[in-house]
Symmetry: C2
Subunit: 395 residues, 2 copies
């Protein structure tokens, strides 16, 4: 048996494929039509919010958010260094100084205490990344941020459906983004995203920013082509719009997968809990395992590997790869260490938990279309590998 790191999270069922085939055959238009509207409506219902817009990716959503923030020179945005790079790039591009925050070692997500320490008079916004699928509880800093006019951005790329305090992630902050990239808990055929904007006045600017500044005229036209077929304007000073549109078939995939998301997340949670339980006798592996319902939707199944004097996570990854053909991953290289960020002056001194966790973490393949047989094979293989490493350690 062989367990790859899959480039797709889930399969599509027959009726879903029929729905998509119908769009390929009949949808007119093929982009920016009724499926876009319907997907946005359904997604709004899902997080119980309006002001929801579908875009080409979560990165595009964050780009639009960074434009809506109106970042000025010297503005600071606090972002965890332990996340995927797209959480940070748009803000840096638009002129923010990134202040890298550390993670809480227990949750492997943003440390609110560290964020508070890093807030200054220049702080424009903070990015809360619900990493791995874990819903960060940031409710106790909301009032503090509101008073200081610091905006809270939820990056829910990995956590669609996760909940905290009875609310879905992405519905709590001032802005949020979701990703439907191939490997996410649900995918809109490989690429796609959602942006949510709390403030109505700001939300109105999203369609134009997403689509080259297209907008309605403020007056009723006698003829549909006078003065022009459509208007181009943007109610944002000094900003040019983008082309971040998402096609009808992608929105169609969003519509059908949203129906099945709960079931997919349930399966992920059930499997993760099983895996964690099976590993409970191995102190080497430490998981995040909250008891609250839907607190963690396990986009990834990652663990901290407690290193001993001679054995570390590299040994486990190597055995699993070489002996059992199971391809694990190691996430996330501290962003400030990449050449990309260092060259642009967005480096940082070492963040302790960020580096400690990165250096000792292992992420097991966890695509939801993995068969039970494969999943059980993985459990057995990890156990056998850990036992053999224990023997080595005790020698």
């Amino acid at each position: 048996m062989k367990i790859p790191w899959s480039g797709r999270a889930h399969s599509f069922e027959k009726k879903e494929i029929n729905f998509l085939t119908n769009i390929i055959k009949n949808a007119d238009p093929l982009t920016q039509g009724k499926y876009l509207k319907l997907f946005e409506k359904k997604f709004g219902n899902f997080i119980k919010k309006s002001n929801v817009f579908a875009v080409s990716s979560a990165a595009a959503a964050l780009e639009i958010i960074s434009l809506l923030l109106g970042i000025k020179k010297n503005d600071e945005i606090i972002i965890p260094a332990h996340t995927y790079c797209a959480s940070a790039i748009p803000f840096a591009r638009n002129g923010a100084k990134i202040v890298w925050s550390d993670i809480n070692f227990k949750t492997r997500t943003v440390d609110l205490g560290d964020i508070k320490k890093k807030i200054t008079s220049k702080t424009k916004a903070i990015v809360i990344v619900h990493l791995y699928g874990y819903a960060v509880d940031f409710r106790n800093i909301i009032n503090f941020c509101k008073k200081k006019n610091i905006k809270i951005i939820e990056d829910c790329a990995q956590a669609i459906g996760a909940e905290v305090g009875g609310k879905k992630v992405g519905s709590i902050g001032d802005f949020s983004c979701f990703s439907f990239h191939a490997q996410k808990n649900m995918t809109t055929l490989g690429e796609g995203g959602i942006i949510y904007v709390k403030e109505k006045k700001l939300a109105r600017k999203v369609p134009g920013l997403r689509h080259n500044g297209h907008c309605n005229y403020r007056f009723k036209r006698k003829n549909y082509w006078v003065p022009a077929m459509g208007n181009l304007d943007l109610d944002l000073k000094g900003v040019w719009p983008y082309k971040f549109t998402i096609s009808e078939i992608q929105c169609g995939a969003g519509i059908v997968m949203l129906k099945r998301l709960n079931a997919l997340n349930k399966k992920r949670i059930k499997r993760a809990k099983k895996f964690i339980k099976e590993m409970s006798n191995f102190d080497e592996l430490q998981f995040v395992n909250p008891t609250e319902k839907n607190r963690h939707v396990y986009h990834l199944l990652s663990a901290y590997y407690q290193p001993s004097k001679y054995i570390n996570k590299n040994d486990l990854i190597e055995i699993l790869f070489e002996k059992y053909s199971i391809k694990c991953a190691v996430q996330y290289y501290p962003l400030y260490k990449y050449a990309l960020f260092k060259k642009m002056g967005q480096g940082s001194k070492k963040l302790l938990n960020t580096e400690k966790f990165y250096n000792n973490m292992i992420s097991f393949p966890f695509h939801v279309w993995m068969s039970d047989k494969e999943f059980n094979y993985m459990i057995r293989s990890v156990k056998k590998s850990l036992l053999s490493l224990q023997k080595l350690r005790n020698k």
Copy 2:
């Protein structure tokens, strides 16, 4: 009968749909995989060039081109004002002063004489838009531009397959972009684009710019996860990368449609020629109708309407819309007149041909999936409308 302005250019055939369904079912990964590679290879063969990269849209391609240009303050880029806004926005965003060029009244595309007049020591690049599907012959300014180190960018969004001097558009300049948006001669399911970069050294930077700076390490790694799963770097000073990736199913659509493009273009050309011939007795309508093979691939079927004292193109559009349910369009409102461009200091004084043509043009619905019956209905309806307008005029 009713002829809308369709939001899709063409249908997909059964075997094409089967090919796409197979991708939905089986492709792993669902983005940035083998279909991307194959589409890029096939497209490279099509324009007889390498250095071809598929991206999320033509606008994304132009964004990358504008980053590769290394635009500096006061740099000027000459762009026709008679085109879709995406031809200009990326260059303006990245700091260029847009110098709007006029069109040649005969071809309704860029006027090389006007461009030459507008070249200054600050000119960084010129954008040649092969608008409506017409291949602009810009060969006699290539050497001039080369000497002055002015880059030529071909915007082939509307002209895929058009040829001049035996070469396909998009293979002649320093950079080019193609669009596979829903209404284009071929579409990758609603959204999609291609970027071509002539210079190898610059072309190498495209994959990183397209995908968050992802790149290989310059050394061979002992373990696939050390120092990190992947590298992030960009060999371009002061530039952040984007997320402009295109999914596997979109690339799959590109692969199958590229096979059928010639046939689709042939059908467009045949119908356009027929329409033009049928209208030859009406002096009011003046078309671009070159005799060279594939010089014009008629993405749009547009005409100049010669106004008389009391009758103008508005009357024709209105009759066709009200009486025959045929929805024509009017393209392209001079870009410098939109609030979007004016507010950003990219206005212009009046360009004569740009305004004269815009004020008197009509664009007939021309999606290629229109049936022959509908197409013939349109011909009859236009003729009847013109006859009735002639009667009014002669009263």
